[in-house]
Amino acid sequence: MQMKEYKPLIVAFCCNWCSYAGADLAGNNRLNYPAEVKIIRVPCSCRVNPMFILRAFQRGADGVIICGCHPGDCHYTSGNYFTRRRMAALFSMLDFLGIEKERTRVEWVSAAEGAKFAATMNDFVEKVVSLGENKRLEDLRCKR
């Protein structure tokens, strides 16, 4: 029997001002990055409520990456500083609960960094593929 090839589902939250434009640039430059990455455009990386990430995992995402402007370059001055604190706390908690740490990431990608965007996504997807399907957050409270 032929094994069906495993295709991960990756959710990328990209801020409108930097990372989404960075993704655009990656496309314009014909840079390859996996089609499994589903980009969700948000006005600012701090728009990403930690619940969005949990929600994505629960609905079957295998990895969630948040991309925003570099600290100091936020379109709204300070949004990504808040993202940084929130996500540090959340990721540490997910790690504490035993969720594989490679499934979550925050990366700062500016509008000029199309190459970085593609490289980041390639790297991230590769790591998630090596982990396989996300079971833990999908079924954390399962009855045994």
């Binding site: 949990l54 500083y81 604190r85 996500m87 035993g98 954390l140 409270r141």
Partner: protein, 331 residues
């Protein structure tokens, strides 16, 4: 150190009711047994004499009830606060959840509260009464002879790891106020951190799968005072009791811990009220420990008006990816 008795509290409440300082008293109410003490509101001296109790089972943190009780109150309400309750009191003031002018807070010296589950493990079922005489507690049961247990052995988890005997807010003090204690409260968290991810996951799956979603942790938590809670489902008819969807059901505990992160004073009510004895305080302590390590020591409620770490930032905070590197060093 003198022992604080319920008579002293009743006398104080009577005095304040009689001279018109307060019109309501928020305290601890007698239940069917010595150990099922609940929070209660008393309107008169007669009610106080009938039902008011204070002792080793007056563990409930009363500060949360001020939010609802002061809403339409004319005049003042008297509230008794143990040291750890005063932190919640301050935190609620910081969040402008009630009017300080409407509250007369009496700080009560705390000698640690007893966990009835621990007593039951030692003394067995059929407990008739539990009396404390200083260092020991005497348990009378239906089936066994009277039993004397060292109080230190049956202290509630949060009292065994007490973080502070200091009252950070009060109008008047009964007994003595102690000092902030350098406790071992993060030991359990560190133990978990040292495990592998698989072990941690197995531990939490085992613990959280016990949850019956009774929402007791949320209902007792002094940080959970939102009028509209994300866990309420307005379409269900039984608003409090049902999750809006399977997502909330599964990830309830992560979300709740995150919602109170940076605001949790570590009062331990969540674990105390949990009927399934899930160690929920560990989730909160993990956040407190992380915040202390990442952004500097912070104790929610230590002072009124302090800025919670998660709504604040500095230019050189650590990157989210670095939290894992740190974890590897510890391992």
């Amino acid at each position: 150190m003198q022992k604080i008795t319920k008579e002293m509290l009743i006398d104080k409440a009577t005095e304040l009711l009689n001279n018109g300082t307060v019109s309501l008293v928020l305290g601890w109410k007698k239940g069917e047994y010595d150990y099922d003490v609940t929070p209660g509101v008393f309107e008169s001296v007669e009610e106080l004499k009938k039902d008011f109790v204070f002792g080793d089972f007056s563990a409930a943190n009363l500060s949360k009830y001020l939010v609802k009780k002061t809403e339409k109150l004319e005049g003042k309400i008297l509230v008794f606060l143990k040291p750890c309750d005063t932190y919640s009191f301050n935190q609620l003031l910081t969040e402008h959840r009630f009017d300080r002018e409407k509250v007369y807070a009496v700080g009560v010296q705390c000698d640690g509260m007893v966990d009835i589950e621990k007593v039951k493990k030692i003394a067995g079922d059929g407990i008739l009464s539990v009396d404390c005489n200083g260092e020991d507690i005497v348990v009378k049961t239906l089936y066994n002879d009277d039993m004397t247990i060292a109080k230190a052995d049956v202290l509630a988890e949060r009292c065994a790891n007490c973080k502070s005997k200091k009252h950070v807010a009060y109008d008047e003090l009964l007994g003595e106020s102690g000092e902030v204690i350098d406790s071992n409260r993060f030991d359990e968290v560190e133990k978990l951190e040292k495990m592998t991810a698989d072990e941690r996951f197995a531990f939490w799956q085992n613990e959280l799968s016990k949850c019956i979603r009774c929402n007791a942790c949320r209902d007792a938590c002094p940080a959970c005072t939102c009028e509209k809670c994300v866990f309420n489902n307005p379409n269900s008819g039984v608003e409090n009791k049902s999750p809006a969807n399977s997502f909330e059901e599964k990830l309830f505990h992560i979300i709740r811990a995150y919602h109170v992160a940076g605001r949790c004073t570590d009062c331990g009510e969540c674990s105390r009220v949990c009927p399934q004895n899930i160690p929920l305080h560990l989730l909160n302590r993990k956040f407190i420990k992380d915040i202390n390590e990442f952004y500097g020591e912070y104790q929610a409620g230590a002072e009124v008006g302090s800025r919670a770490p998660l709504v604040d930032y500095t230019l050189n905070d650590l990157e989210p990816g670095e939290v894992f590197d740190r974890g590897d060093e510890n391992a």
